[in-house]
């Protein structure tokens, strides 16, 4: 691989600005549409150089919460409210404000929006928005105190949808509420999935995204619940004996080869997901299903052995009869052919 600094045409540096300038200059020189290889190489060099430059802490990294919340930790209060945004710009149509608000700073249309300094004392007169935020904080904290994580999350989701919580506050707040929700076994599978979806944590993470351990757990339980829902849907049909066996312990007499295979697969999945959903199953049913899955193969081999043996015997009998009545040889051929097909299906000729 070509040296990235050579590709960019600069000396090694951590100066992000210099890297960008070099990239821009090189990019102008190539036609990305025609020369794909050159673009790819330049892009790879640029991204690698940036990663080195970015290894210093920079502003474009989402701040992670200060520490992990344990289940028995006292519930953490929500982050402090931030001052309300200034009133809409000058080009906003004038409208009467329903509730008292401090006079807006009246920015002009071409004023760039000023970033607000983060730590600021709360404004003297609480605005409607402040009250809303305070109310939300009280609601969430009360629910956390009562160990009612589900209600707490519902409050948070509502706050996010209405914009009471800003986008920057989303992750820290979810980090503090979600661990409780994930451990709460009283939440139904479909409820949990809908909560997860609304919280925005169910989406597939992007390539550059950092996934916190809490979110990983929340997503893992989501996946487990999804499997559980699928299994419950399958168990409604009489023909789906693997699902019925696992969920309800419905007794079975004989399982065909595909059913055994399916049962084995579902047991593998159950073990994989059991951390999250073991409480939804009766462990006796699982133990029985495991026994059946293990026994299934033996029972089947025995059964096919008997049938194949009978066929071979009958074929030999036909062979013996050929002496008197030549057409009986057709019976021999048929019997051997069927016996061979059955043995092949039962996997007798497969290696290992």
């Amino acid at each position: 691989m070509v040296d990235i600094w050579q590709e960019l045409g600069i000396a090694p540096t951590v100066d992000v600005k210099a890297i960008r300038r070099a990239y821009a200059a090189r990019l102008r020189a190539i036609d990305a549409d025609r020369d794909l290889a050159a673009f790819q190489q330049l892009r790879a060099a640029y991204e690698a150089a940036l990663r080195r430059g970015m290894s210093r802490p920079v502003a474009t990294v989402i701040p992670s919460p200060p520490r992990e919340t344990q289940a028995d930790d006292p519930p953490r209060p929500l982050p402090r409210p931030q001052p309300p945004p200034p009133a809409p710009t000058a080009d906003d149509p004038p409208r009467p404000l329903p509730r008292p608000q401090p006079p807006p700073p009246a920015p002009t249309a071409d004023d760039p929006p000023r970033p607000l300094p983060r730590p600021q004392p709360p404004p003297p007169a609480p605005t409607a928005e402040d009250l809303e935020r305070a109310q939300l904080r009280r609601d969430v904290n009360a629910a956390l105190q009562a160990q009612d994580f589900r209600t707490a999350l519902q409050h948070v989701i509502g706050g996010l949808a209405r914009g009471t919580l800003s986008l920057g506050e989303r992750e820290p707040v979810l980090e503090s509420v979600m661990p409780g929700v994930v451990r709460d076994t009283s939440i139904r599978a479909d409820d949990y999935l809908s909560l997860l979806r609304q919280s925005g944590w169910s989406t597939v993470p992007g390539a550059r995204e950092r996934v916190s351990p809490t979110r990983q757990q929340a997503m893992a339980r989501g996946e487990a619940e999804l499997w559980f829902l699928r299994l419950s849907a399958q168990a409604k049909h009489r023909t789906n004996r693997a699902a019925r066996l696992l969920l309800r312990g419905t007794p079975v007499l004989f399982l065909s080869a595909p059913s055994i295979k399916e049962l084995q697969q579902e047991i593998v999945r159950y073990r994989h997901y059991s951390t999250w959903i073991a409480h939804r199953f009766d462990h006796r049913h699982i133990a029985r299903a495991e026994q059946i899955a293990a026994m299934g193969k033996t029972v089947q081999d025995l059964f096919s052995g008997l049938v194949i043996g009978a066929l071979v015997l009958f074929g030999l009998a036909c062979l013996a009869a050929t002496v008197g009545a030549p057409p009986a040889f057709i019976g021999t051929i048929l019997c051997f052919r069927v016996a061979y097909a059955m043995a092949k299906r039962a996997g007798w000729f497969r290696k290992g």
Binding site: A32, Q40, P112, L116, E129, L167, G200, T203, A207, V268
Partner: protein, 569 residues
């Protein structure tokens, strides 16, 4: 001459780079916005734009609107007693815009930059290009709408580095993109959206709540039947939605069965009704920020584009979510078209434009379907293996090694998919390649699968078994919703036979269609008067004296203006 076209769900605009500025071109009626509506009159002649929009009320069966949503599908849309595909309907709009531009510029327009939502997939982009070709426009390049909006605001000029979030909510789609501009380069870092959320959905929701509360009791048939009364209701809902951006209270008035049903509405109630829709705005915003790994605080500008972002509740939500005021000093309806015009100027290398380089990202994850074995030998099938991750800078080429899974396997079937779901079948199927491999124990035979995605949104897949070195190649092009080259030529000939109303007629048509609509919406003496005035104009049109027609038309227009301002008379 190269023009920039914003082909929107509800409205389309055309612009051009002229004398060092982006200039938008008015249509025959003098308006910059041409509604994306196509209709046909009794003789089967095609009507486009405002007159067609008014015909939505009077002739809903022969009029088609919001067809941009069906782009890239083979869905047939009924209009004018026959069916069209979305790209054909779009080509009528493009033709009419092109005629406006040629009349305005006095020269032939041959090439266009057309904008598409960033979220448009391969098939949808190709359908947009096909629409351009059907309208006899060369479309070399599509421009994504958020990039266009940022271009219109002139970011990426000079040295200043900025992170710009563009939120574009038009009639039909919500598009969110995060752009990073530095050193004259504008780079799309991440993009996300909701193709089923736009201003029209708000209108539909208001109309359906009206039906629940008042319509059912009054015996109006359900909305799905698409009768004239529903067209009138939707128009009223749209008007109320717009009005409440400026005023505090309004009302919906619908005439049905000789009665007037009135439904008062104020801003607070409207916001309560629309809350579920607004809640959906948040998800694409979060996803964009997460994909780009950028904290909300480091965004330097928020740009709003699209008419639906005018709603005060929408702007308030954005301000609250980001604790920052959005920029909106260019008319949000026009900003995308202005950006397209800038791009057209860049393509022509016009003077007065600093060279800018735009890099884009792939809006979707592209990958293949794979199977794997668990430790105990169970075969798990149907998983989706991403090869080009979403928001990878394009053009991009990525390779992945795959192995066989069964002993002595001789063929490997590679299903190619686009989407974000973990299981392949939940994603969109694009095509498949079957690769022959020499028999060997499972896992020994390796295949290199290479995906190449270029700037025009074309995906090419190469699969090479290492032992044989014979490459199988697939250009993912055939798609049920996309026309082939031969089909385009054939369709163009077929559409060429359809008569389109001449541009000069469009003023008359617009006034007549509007009078028809008001005739149906009003009652009693008002109705009689509209009818009489309309007859006067029709009589003049029969006589074919341009001056007298113009006089009669103006009279009728003033009269209609007066009614529209005061619907109750």
């Amino acid at each position: 001459m190269i023009v920039g076209i914003d082909l929107g769900t509800t409205n389309s605009l055309i612009g051009v780079w002229k004398d060092g500025a982006a200039v938008l071109i008015p249509n025959a009626l003098g308006n910059l916005l041409t509604p994306s509506v196509v209709s046909a009159d009794d003789k089967g002649r095609i009507i486009v734009g405002e007159p067609a929009r008014d015909r939505l009320v009077s002739h809903p069966k022969s009029t088609a609107a919001t067809f941009k949503r069906a782009m890239g599908t083979s869905r047939a849309i009924a209009a004018a007693g026959r069916t069209f595909r979305a790209d054909e309907l779009s080509s009528f709009i493009l033709k009419s815009l092109k005629a406006d531009a040629e009349a305005f510029l006095g020269e032939k327009v041959t090439e266009a930059v057309i904008t598409v939502p960033a979220y448009f997939n391969d098939a949808q982009r190709k359908a947009t290009k096909a629409a351009g070709q059907l309208a006899e426009l060369k479309v070399d390049r599509l421009l994504t709408e958020p990039t266009a909006a940022a271009l219109a605001y002139g970011f990426a000029t000079g040295d200043d580095e900025s992170v710009v979030l563009v939120i574009d909510m038009g009639g039909g789609t919500l598009d969110v993109s995060l752009l990073h501009s530095f050193e004259g380069i504008m780079e799309v870092k991440a993009t996300a959206g909701d193709i089923w959320l736009g201003g029209e959905d708000f209108t539909q929701l208001i109309a359906s709540v009206f039906m629940e509360e008042k319509g059912k009791a009054a015996g109006i048939p359900p909305l799905s039947q698409n009768l004239p009364v529903h067209g009138a209701l939707l128009r009223q809902a749209e008007a109320v939605k717009r009005m409440l951006s400026d005023t505090d209270a309004s009302a919906i008035e619908v005439n049905y069965d000789g009665r007037t049903i009135s439904w008062p509405m104020d801003r607070e109630r409207l916001e309560a009704i629309c809350e579920p829709l607004l809640g959906r705005v948040r998800l694409p915003l979060e996803r964009t920020l997460r994909d780009a790994a950028i904290a909300p605080e480091s965004i330097s500008r928020i740009v709003l584009a699209g008419g639906a972002t005018r709603m005060p509740m929408f702007r308030r939500l954005i301000t609250r979510l980001f604790r920052q005021l959005p920029v909106q000093h260019i008319n949000p309806d026009e900003v995308v078209a202005r950006g397209a015009a800038v791009r057209a100027g860049l393509v022509q290398r016009s003077a007065g434009l600093e060279e800018r380089i735009l890099t884009d990202v792939s809006p979707f994850t592209l990958g293949v379907e794979v199977a794997s074995r668990t430790a105990d030998g169970t075969l798990l099938q149907g998983a989706f293996l991403p090869i080009i991750e979403r928001n990878t800078v394009i053009p991009a080429s990525r390779a992945h090694m795959l192995g066989t899974i069964i002993d002595n396997q001789t063929r490997v079937k590679l299903g190619i998919y686009q989407g974000e779901a973990r299981t392949a079948r939940d994603n969109m199927f694009l095509g498949q390649i079957v690769v022959a491999v020499p028999p060997a124990p499972a896992g020994e035979e390796q295949i290199e699968v290479r995906f190449t995605y270029d700037t025009s949104g074309l995906l090419e897949v190469d699969a090479t078994p290492l032992s044989s070195g014979q490459t199988s190649n697939l250009v993912v092009e055939s798609n049920p919703g996309v026309l082939t080259k031969a089909e385009i030529a054939q369709r163009r000939a077929a559409l060429g036979k359809l008569k389109i109303h001449p541009r000069e007629d469009s003023e008359n048509l617009a006034v007549v269609a509007r009078a028809h609509r008001l005739f149906e919406e009003s009652l009693g003496t008002m109705r009689m008067q509209v009818g009489k005035e309309l007859e006067l104009l029709l009589a003049e049109i029969e006589r074919q004296d341009p001056q007298r027609i113009a006089a009669a038309r103006d009279r009728l227009r003033h009269f209609l203006d007066a009614i529209d301002r005061n619907p109750l008379g």
